[in-house]
C-alpha cells in the first residue's frame, strides 16, 4: 500500500530523512518510532504529499507521488485519513460539522452526510457531543472527533501522527483501540508514536527512525 525507495528529504542543508526504504502492505498496522527530530512527521508528510521528496520514490496505493500532478493531490488525500497530535479541529464548527466537512468537500448529499455522520458519532460514543464545539471538549474527546473525521471517508490508509501524545495512558489505550478497530476494518494504519507502553502491549511491526535513517 505504501512503498518508499531510497527516500531522502532535505530542508535547507539539513537532511530530515536519508535513504529510507520500506514497504507497508495493505491492511497492515505499523508503528513509526524514534526520538524527536528522527523524521517521523516528515515521513508522514511525504506520504500525504504535503512536502515533495528530495530524492527517491514514494508510492501510495500504486501511485508515484513524484508524478502526481498538483490537481490530483486532493484525490490522493481523500484515500488517506489523518489524525494529528494537536487534533487540528476547526474551533468555530461543531463536532458534527467537523466530521461532516470531509464529506462536504466531496459534494456528498446532505441527507447522506446527516445519516453517515450520526451513525459514526454514535459508534464512537460522541453522539451527545455532536453540537459541542472542540474547545469545550477534553483532549481525549477531541482526538476521538479527529479520528471520526479521518474515518468518515472510509480511507484506505490512516496516518496518525502522535495521536496519543497529549493524552494520559487510559485515554491513549482507548484511542489506540479505536485505531486498531479501523485497521481491522481493512485500512492500512501508520502510526507515529513515543508511547512505549502501547508498543509493548501491541506487538506490531515497528519502523525505527533515528536521525532520519531507518534502523533495524
Amino acid at each position: 500500500m505504501i512503498q518508499l525507495y531510497g527516500v531522502t528529504k532535505i530542508y535547507g542543508r539539513k537532511a530530515a530523512l536519508t535513504d529510507v526504504t520500506a514497504r507497508v502492505g495493505e491492511g497492515e498496522f505499523v508503528f513509526i518510532v524514534g526520538p524527536s527530530g528522527a523524521g517521523k512527521t516528515t515521513l508522514l508528510k511525504l506520504i500525504l504529499c504535503q512536502e515533495p521528496v528530495t530524492r527517491g520514490e514514494v508510492l501510495v496505493d500504486r501511485q508515484n507521488l513524484k508524478r502526481l500532478r498538483p490537481h490530483h493531490i486532493p484525490e490522493l488525500r481523500r484515500k488517506i485519513g489523518v489524525v494529528f497530535q494537536d487534533f487540528k479541529l476547526l474551533p468555530t464548527r461543531t463536532v458534527f460539522q467537523n466530521v461532516a466537512l470531509r464529506l462536504e468537500i466531496q459534494g456528498a448529499r446532505r441527507s447522506f452526510i446527516q445519516k453517515k455522520v450520526r451513525v459514526l458519532l454514535r459508534s464512537l460514543g460522541l453522539e451527545s457531543l455532536s453540537e459541542a464545539y472542540p474547545p469545550q471538549l477534553s483532549g481525549g474527546e477531541q482526538q476521538r472527533v479527529s479520528i471520526a473525521r479521518a474515518m468518515i471517508g472510509d480511507p484506505k490508509i490512516l496516518l496518525a501522527d502522535e495521536p496519543t501524545g497529549n493524552l494520559d495512558l487510559d485515554m491513549s489505550r482507548s484511542i489506540f483501540e479505536l485505531l486498531l478497530n479501523i485497521n481491522r476494518g481493512g485500512a492500512t494504519v501508520l502510526m507515529a508514536t513515543h508511547n512505549r507502553e502501547l508498543l509493548k502491549e501491541a506487538n506490531l511491526r515497528i519502523l525505527h527512525l533515528d536521525k532520519g535513517r531507518l534502523v533495524t
Binding site: 504535503q50 486532493p74 488525500r77 481523500r78 476547526l90 466537512l101 462536504e104 468537500i105
Partner: protein, 296 residues
C-alpha cells in the same frame, strides 16, 4: 453543484459576519465609489437631455453684408434652405433688427436715439432640424456658413447652454478621475478585507487541504465573499443615489422652464449595470487577494 453553492454561500456569509466591521467598511467604500460614478452618470444623461432640449429654442444668426439686392438675398436664402440642417430660414432686415433691439432694451431704448444710421446688419435666422442640434454638430456648420458669399459673421446663442456644456465636460473628466481612483481604492480595500479573512483562516485552509479539499473548493467561498461585498456595495450606491435624486437633484431648476418631470432616474438597465459593476469589482478584489495569498 447546487450543494456546493449552498455550502460556499454559507461559508462566505460567516466570513463576512466574522469580519463584520471591515466588511462593512469595504461595502461602504465600494458603495461610495459607485455612487459617485452613478451620480455623474445620472447628472450627465439629464444635462445632455437638457442641452438637446434647449437647442430647440435656439437658432443660428447669419449676418449679411450691407446693401445686398433682393436677388442676392433670395439666392442666399435658397442656398440656406438647401442645407440638410435647415428647418426654417427667416430673413430679418436691418430695420427689423433695430426694432427687435429696441424692444429688448425696453426703457433703455432711448440710448439708440443718438445713432445717425442703423449699425445693425441684416440677417437670416436659421432654425435647425432636430437631429442637428447638438453643439458638436453646430460648430462645423457655423464654420461652413461663415465661408458663404455675402456672409459677414455667424452667431449662435450659446450663452448658458455652452457654459453648462463646458462645466459638464469638466465634471465628466473629474468624475472619471475620481471614479477611477476610487475604483482602485475599492479593489485594494476589498482585496485587503479578503486577505484578512484568508489570514485569519490560514489554519482552517491548511486543514481543508489536508483532508482533500480542492483549491477551487477552498477559493470559492472567498470569491463569493467578494461578490457579496460587491453586490451589497452596488445596492447601497443605488439606494443612496435614489435618495439623493428624490431629495436634491430633482429639486434643482434650470432655465428655459424645464419641468421636474423631465428629470429621469437611472433606467433599469443602468441600475442593473451599476450592481453588476459592484459584483465585478468585488470579484476583482477577491481575485487579487487570492492570486497573491493562496499559492501554497
Amino acid at each position: 453543484m447546487q450543494r456546493f453553492l449552498i455550502y460556499f454561500i454559507r461559508i462566505a456569509l460567516s466570513n463576512l459576519a466574522q469580519n463584520l466591521f471591515i466588511s462593512l467598511v469595504s461595502i461602504a467604500t465600494l458603495g461610495l465609489a459607485l455612487l459617485i460614478l452613478a451620480g455623474f452618470l445620472l447628472i450627465s444623461t439629464n444635462v445632455k437631455a437638457l442641452l438637446t432640449a434647449s437647442a430647440q429654442h435656439l437658432s443660428v444668426a447669419v449676418y449679411l453684408e450691407d446693401g445686398l439686392g433682393p436677388e442676392a438675398i433670395a439666392a442666399l436664402k435658397a442656398r440656406l434652405l438647401k442645407l440638410p440642417e435647415a428647418a426654417e430660414v427667416v430673413h430679418i432686415t436691418k430695420a427689423q433688427a433695430m426694432s427687435d433691439l429696441r424692444r429688448r432694451l425696453g426703457a433703455r431704448a432711448a440710448l439708440l436715439d443718438g445713432l445717425e444710421e442703423n449699425p445693425l446688419p441684416a440677417s437670416f435666422e436659421l432654425t435647425l432640424k432636430a437631429p442637428y442640434r447638438s453643439p458638436e454638430q453646430i460648430k462645423p456648420l457655423l464654420v461652413r456658413l461663415k465661408g458663404l458669399e455675402h456672409v459677414t459673421d455667424v452667431d449662435y446663442a450659446w450663452d448658458w447652454s455652452e457654459k453648462l456644456a463646458s462645466i459638464f465636460n469638466f465634471f465628466k473628466l473629474g468624475a472619471l478621475v475620481i471614479g477611477g481612483l476610487l475604483f482602485l481604492a475599492t479593489v485594494f480595500i476589498i482585496s485587503n478585507t479578503i486577505k484578512l479573512t484568508v489570514y485569519a483562516r490560514q489554519e482552517e485552509l491548511s486543514i481543508l487541504r489536508l483532508i482533500g479539499a480542492t483549491e477551487s473548493f477552498i477559493r470559492a467561498p472567498f470569491l463569493i465573499e467578494g461578490l457579496l461585498q460587491g453586490f451589497f456595495g452596488g445596492l447601497l450606491a443605488l439606494a443612496l443615489l435614489w435618495l439623493m435624486f428624490r431629495l436634491v437633484i430633482s429639486q434643482v431648476e434650470f432655465p428655459l422652464g424645464l419641468s421636474l418631470a423631465e428629470w429621469r432616474f437611472l433606467s433599469s438597465a443602468e441600475a442593473f449595470g451599476l450592481v453588476g459593476l459592484g459584483l465585478l469589482l468585488g470579484l476583482l478584489g477577491s481575485l487579487v487577494s487570492l492570486g497573491r495569498f493562496m499559492r501554497s
